[in-house]
């Protein structure tokens, strides 16, 4: 059952969990990027304006700790929110293949946009960041996202 209450409850919980794991417990990169999973789930439910707005707000929260690259997360998540909302018009299916690709590509795109926006002084090599680290993070976030969708009963056909 995909009631709005359930969807937004799961999104809210993922956001809380993200900051709980990354910030309160200080797990860093060993914890998955639940913020992008939450944004990608929410973006499928709203139009492009709301998707961008949610991405903007979540990005600002993530940027509160990146003093020398402030705005990079905001820029990346705003675009991911917009892109996620656009997929509603472009892709109708909710197959496992679509969901996996959607979550993984969404996370990879977020890392890529962050890498682009972060500025030359702080940017690490493309190969190490985007071809080695980002795909691993994308697979991690994708798997976690699928598990969340499955256990929360959000009702996507194949997962259910």
């Amino acid at each position: 059952m995909r009631s709005p209450l359930r969807i937004w409850g799961v999104v809210g919980l993922l956001i809380l969990l993200h900051f709980g794991l990354h910030l309160s417990l200080g797990l860093g990169e060993s914890a998955p990027d639940l913020l992008v999973v939450a944004l990608l789930i929410a973006a499928r439910e709203v139009d492009i304006g709301w998707g961008a707005g949610l991405g903007f707000l979540l990005g600002l929260l993530d940027d509160a700790f990146s003093i020398l690259a402030f705005g990079a997360n905001t820029f990346a998540l705003t675009l991911v929110g917009m892109g996620g909302s656009r997929t509603r018009d472009l892709f109708v299916g909710d197959s496992l293949f679509f969901l996996t690709s959607y979550l993984m590509l969404g996370k990879w795109a977020r890392d890529f946009l962050h890498w682009v926006a972060v500025g030359g002084g702080l940017r690490e090599s493309f190969v190490d960041t985007m071809l080695i680290q980002a795909p691993i993070s994308a697979v991690y976030a994708g798997i976690v996202g699928l598990v969340v969708i499955a256990i929360s009963g959000l009702g996507w056909e194949t997962v259910r």
Partner: protein, 280 residues
Amino acid sequence: MPSYKSDIRGSGKAQSGFIAFGFLVLSVIALYLPDPSQDEVASLLRGSVLRPFILAQEGLVRRSIHAEDTEVLQARLDSLEAVIANSNTLSEENARLRSLLDLSGRTPAQYVAASVIRSGTPGSESMFLLDEGTRSGVTKDSPVIMGRGLLGVVREAQATSATAMDWTHPQFWASAMTEDGSIYGFVEASRGRFREADRLLLNGIPFQEELEAGVVLVTSGLGGVYPRGIRIGVVIEESDAQEGWRRSYWLRPFVSPGEATHVQVRVSRGTPDTEVRAPR
């Protein structure tokens, strides 16, 4: 007759597109905001929405420090007592020599003990929060020190917290010298392929000077940020990166940022006080 519904949908879509474009423009503005405005927004968020998460980590860090093995703490206390006992004679001798030379007494440095909080969010690598701020005397550019040497420097300070960067940050640099003060240069962070491979590069050493492996480098006090004499690292080998008639050396820092949970922040206050103030 044109469909009324589709018109509404069309205009709604256009409106939504405008809103999305507006947020995109705002995000680009956030990216190019001047540093003070960015700092204001960031500290506002840290002090409001994210405060409960930061408080939770502060609590956990304090608990982990309190849970540290008492035997380890006792061993550290014993070592410190031995150092103090040995330095008593030196202090007396120093005071006597200063009075002979008619020099006034030095004002000892004051340190504030603080807990390190890492946010673990993307883009915050090499940055950490401290649970002490301007109320305790911590200011921008206060050096952050761990037992064995320099960890980093405070970037900005609020009333009860501060944001600092460690030596792995690409913008970290410090003026350095050998312990005997004979050779000067400056150290900067050099990123490895992975974070564990990060190390320091000592640059600007005159070509006629050579440093052996194992030579200890300390801050020289010339840069105006770090006071003289804070231990930075030890020379490993000469680097290939040479600039003109200058040599470069790889350094192994004394402090690993990953170990940092509890640090000392050097503060400048008028009171001649050598005590290390305990965290709140």
